[in-house]
């Protein structure tokens, strides 16, 4: 077994086990904090895939910003976080069945398909290549994304503020 494979198995465990805690834990704060190792495991997978810029962004935005945002909202909506409160609805067996069926179907399709895999290395200095791509071929996507970001931030502020103030 190569070192790459061992690293992949380790990172997969670091990703999947906290992800299961996220969806099953009765304590909502523990679920939110389990998001951090899951996101860090995914960023380790990006390192394995030679995508170091996406790794940095993943750690900054997911592990840093989104988790803190979720923890703040849990703190502000304290009524729903107590341990005695039932955290799952009555559709657990159905949810397991749907998620399992989707996983089986997707694995069946994805692992049978023949992908046009080519061997080759990613360019060194990913950030430079991504920056060039964003400002040439994908300039429109870049601009529209920034517009969506602006609109959603203004929307979030307007939705979340107090009425009449």
């Amino acid at each position: 077994m190569s070192g790459e494979m061992a690293a992949f198995i380790l990172l997969a465990a670091v990703t999947v086990i906290p992800a299961i805690v996220v969806v099953t834990s009765r304590n909502i704060v523990r679920a939110a904090l389990s998001l951090v190792p899951a996101f860090l495991g995914v960023s380790g997978l990006y390192v394995l895939l030679q995508a170091e810029f996406v790794t940095a962004i993943q750690i900054l935005i997911y592990a840093g910003a989104i988790t803190v945002l979720i923890l703040f909202v849990i703190m502000l909506t304290a009524g729903g976080t107590g341990l005695p409160v039932r955290q799952v609805n009555e559709q657990v067996p159905l949810g397991i069945a749907v998620a399992g069926a989707l996983a089986g179907g997707l694995l069946f399709v994805l692992l049978r398909a023949r992908w046009p895999v080519v061997s080759g290395e990613m360019p060194r200095y990913n950030a430079k290549a991504i920056g060039t791509a964003l400002l040439t071929n994908y300039a429109l996507i870049f601009e529209v994304t920034s517009l969506v970001l602006l609109v959603s931030l203004i929307g979030a502020i307007i939705i979340a503020r107090k009425e009449g103030s």
Binding site: F8, A19, V23, A31, I57, L102, L153, A156
Partner: protein, 103 residues
């Protein structure tokens, strides 16, 4: 055994299914948003893995992964603001109790 595309596809399918299970079974709206974040992460793993194994040398997969990360941040901000607004007017964050529009 060489590390390849099928390993990453399997992992992302697992992560997506776990997230879907969370979205389907959780009552707390914040926990549902956490499940959605897991599903978006699974999609990102797929994008970057296909970029690495199918078209190394050009960057479309990583660019779209960055776009998805940005939109996930937007979605989290707007979704959590909606949760805050619902909590302020209805005193609950449990989606099975937010049923004003239900007959």
């Amino acid at each position: 055994m060489q590390l390849g595309l099928p390993h990453f596809l399997t992992l992302s399918v697992l992560l997506f299914s776990i997230g879907l299970y969370g979205v389907l079974t959780r009552r707390n709206a914040v926990a549902i948003l956490m499940g959605i974040e897991l599903m978006l992460n699974a999609a990102n793993v797929n994008l970057v893995a296909f970029n690495r194994y199918v078209s190394p040398g050009v960057m479309p997969g990583q660019v779209f992964a960055l776009v998805v990360i940005t939109l996930a941040a937007c979605e989290a901000a707007v979704g959590l603001a909606l949760v805050m607004a619902a909590y302020r007017s209805l005193e609950t964050v449990h989606v099975d109790e937010i049923n004003l529009l239900k007959w």
